[in-house]
Amino acid sequence: MGPVVTVRLLRWVGIVLLLLASSVSARADDFATLVGDLASDSFADKERAVTALGVLDDPRAVSVLQALSEGRLLKTTDGRVVISKIAGGTTRVRDAVTGEDIAGADPDRFDRVIVNNRLRGAIEGALAALTLFSIDRDARLVAARDALRHPSAGEAALLEKAIAVEQDPEIRAAVQLSLSAARLVSGSRQERLTAIRALGTTTDPQIKNLLDEFRAAPDTDPELKKAADAALTSIGNRLRLVSIAANLFQGISLGSVLLLAAIGLAITFGVMGVINMAHGEMIMLGAYTAYVCQQSFRALLPADWIDAYLSVAVPVAFFVAGGIGVALERSVIRFLYGRPLETLLATWGVSLILQQAVRSIFGSPNKEVSNPSWMTGGFDPIGGFTITWNRLYIILFCFIVLSVLALILSRTSFGLHMRAVTQNRPMASVMGIRTARIDALTFGLGSGIAGMAGVALSQVGNVSPNLGTIYIVDSFLVVVFGGVGNLLGTLVGALSLGIVNKFLEPVAGAILGKIVVLVAIILFIQRRPRGLFALKGRTAEAEA
């Protein structure tokens, strides 16, 4: 760390020297005068002082301006300007110019320096100017982006200076953008034209507003106006594209979560004709498995191993939920084959018991499962929306699970037997397939996948005993929509439900969108009572 700091310090010193050289009037007693002016009764005087402080290049100015904007700049009875600061429960007061503490002063006796909105704008501009040269990279970035909000001639000069010394490419880009915005309001005709073209390549709604304003101004040059129109169209198109991409990503993300939740349900329903209402609780158990793994790693293993907890949680959740699934099949469901409605009720009972058991063990409040570091954060592919790593990994995970399942179904003898039982149970039984064993294993597989789905869900939200009930209705609809016992149907069902939901949300609102989807599915079932990809033919609707 040491050398980096040194380099940064040297750069900071360089910037200060540069600024000192460029601003002739910079002197320490100017600072005292300007601070004194801040306490003036005239807002115009205050604004002049704020603007002057912004270009004064005095590091003390930052804290003074911050205090002013936060209402902590006070005026003593004898005309001194002080800053109050609450630290450790007590209020400390120090001189704004010298920085020395004033012991025993009661800040309640001093007048606050009043700020109005116009002044607030000036303060923000001045602070941006000062922080643009901060030693802290994040502060510079924020300042570079902030500068967009109050473009002015003074700022353009400042940003030009900043860009001359800035090394970091991300900050440079931000500064460049803000500079274009500043030139748009203050630059020469040619500069404005260049600025408009540069701004046209962005997706920032703020820039769109800025251009709108510029275009609408009565005295705008027609050529500039035309360029602004073109830029606005291009921004509008890009914003539309970004919103579609964002909805699509969120839709696929929701769809993949639904797919993970529904896929186990689809195969158990397909193979056994059984509706497992406790399926949601298998998801919930998986999520709690992730929580327990995380807690065990935290408690038992070295701190930098924590990122590995997820890779342990996935298989453990599969076996925990799968094992409970097999136990459930052997102890309850197998006695109810051929009575789907009774199965539905009995498994609902199981789900109540599992929920209450988890509530008794872990308590009702939500448990937090944190993302491993490699799943934290995200990236912005086209500007305007962020693809978060956790959601991206869940989509990947979901497709891996789907592919593995498809391979199991098509390539293993277990899969072959499972498909045989799905299509014709009595015949499969006559052929020597042990249908009871297939049922138990299928149920275990379906529940195990639900358990893994739970681990995935723990990465995008909180873990609570009723986690399963949130997804169960949607999972049913996916299965019913896609058609039972059909992986492709489940895939199409889950993704279309997820995407349609997310595209409806901005139009109709989250809840109304959901209601629309529910009603649409209820109506859809009228047309295709057996789902989108239902088996057709004599066997599918055999009647006793």
Binding site: G273, I275, M277, V332, F335, L336, Y337, G338, R339, P340, L341, E342, T343, L344, L345, A346, W348, G349, V350, S351, L352, I353, Q355, Q356, A357, R359, S360, R425, P426, T469, V473, F476, L477, V480, I511, L512, K514, I515, L518, V519, I521, I522, L523, I525, Q526, R527, P529, R530, A540, E541, A542, E543, A544
Partner: protein, 380 residues
């Protein structure tokens, strides 16, 4: 038990039936008020005031369970959205009660209920018009659930959605309604629902005499509902329903319209559920969207199972038993209630499929289907 060709089943309306029916009716409608009203409060035989609306609530649940047994026990339609019809009936009554509050609300607005004033509504939405008249509200209690059932049932039965598919879409229906009623801008009070009622037909809902009146109304509704269900199930239509429960397509080939028969009982059942909801609301003093939650609707099925499916009486018995247990347990040991309820679901389906009434009756009289005789078609 041989039946007459056509007409009501022999024995359905025998003197023995009427005697026991009236005995139960009198016990509920006369004895309870008598012990509450005329026995001195300090006597050990006295029925405390708080029990009257509680019993009334159980009777409303019993009527709701009866409505589900009519379609599930006889026609094999397991609706997992029956709570929706109950809640809709309840909302119609709740709207009437809100309009009765008048200027006595917190905001004193003579036209708008408090929650509308709070949400800055300027005028009464059209669907609230008329609810200040009891007769209109009572008509809506029947019409709203009935029409929803008619439309929903027509769509579902016409396209032959059966078995678990039907269960799932009824669940989706009540879920969608729940989400809708949670929204503030629907105009039904959002997630707080409607409460703080003042009076019904001019009587103060908090008065013990009003509560007794509501209780007796519940007894009458349950009694009439029972007779109505018994009339349907003992008729030739009842036999058609049993037949289509077991072999639906066979009934079609005999020339009966399965769609019409199912639609008829489904609608009757929804209306009964709506009436139950309407009587429930003034007795518990609140209606909110959680009544629509899918879990509530599934619970109705367990009342019916515990009592015994396809027996009508069983539904009533089951509703009262399960809900008494719930009242007692959620007070005594709240964390155990879900364990008990869950176990009930498993035991009644696995071990006692015929329920309490089934255990008491001779096996031959029960028309439930034995597990072994299930047509394979239902498994698809």
């Amino acid at each position: 038990m041989p039946a007459l060709p056509g007409g009501q089943q022999k024995g359905a309306w025998s003197p023995r039936f009427w005697a026991s029916f009236l005995a139960c009716g009198v016990a509920l409608a006369v004895a309870v008020p008598a012990f509450n009203h005329w026995v001195p409060p300090d006597s050990p035989a006295a029925l405390p005031d708080y029990l009257v609306p509680l019993l009334g609530k159980y009777l409303c649940y019993a009527l709701l369970a009866l409505s589900l047994d009519l379609i599930w026990g006889y026609a094999g339609i397991l609706s997992l959205g029956h709570g929706a019809f109950f809640a809709l009936g309840g909302y119609c009554m709740g709207m009437y009660l809100m309009r009765q509050v008048g200027t006595r609300g917190v905001y004193g607005n003579p036209l708008l209920p408090d929650f509308m004033v709070f949400l800055n509504w300027k005028e009464l939405p059209w669907f609230w018009w008329g609810f200040d008249h009891f007769a209109y509200a009572a008509t809506m209690v029947v019409l709203v659930p009935g029409l929803l059932a008619l439309v929903f049932g027509w769509l579902a039965f016409r396209s032959r959605v059966t078995g678990v598919y039907l269960s799932i879409i009824t669940q989706a229906m009540t879920y969608a309604l729940m989400l809708a009623f949670f929204r503030n801008d629907m105009g039904f009070g959002g997630n707080n629902g409607m409460t703080d009622y003042k009076d019904i037909l001019g009587w103060d809902v908090h008065q013990s005499s009003t509560r007794l009146g509501l209780y007796i109304a519940s007894v009458l509704a349950l009694g009439l509902g029972y007779l109505c269900c018994r009339f349907i199930t003992a008729s030739k239509l009842g036999r058609v329903l049993l037949a289509l429960r077991d072999a639906e397509s066979r009934v079609r080939f005999l020339g009966y319209s399965v769609t019409d028969a199912k639609l008829f009982v489904f609608t009757v059942s929804a209306v009964l559920a709506g009436i139950a909801g309407a009587l429930y609301v003034p007795q518990v003093g609140i209606i909110n969207p959680s009544e629509f939650s899918p879990g509530n609707s599934i619970e109705i099925a367990i009342w019916v199972s515990v009592g015994g499916r396809g027996t009508l009486v069983g539904a009533i018995v089951g509703a009262v038993i399960v809900n008494s247990a719930k009242t007692w347990l959620t007070g005594a040991a709240p964390e155990t209630w879900l364990f008990v309820l869950g176990t009930l679901f498993i035991l009644t389906t696995l071990v006692f499929p015929r329920g309490v009434v089934g255990l008491l009756r001779r096996p031959s009289r029960i028309r439930t289907r034995a597990a072994a005789r299930v047509p394979a078609g239902e498994r698809a």
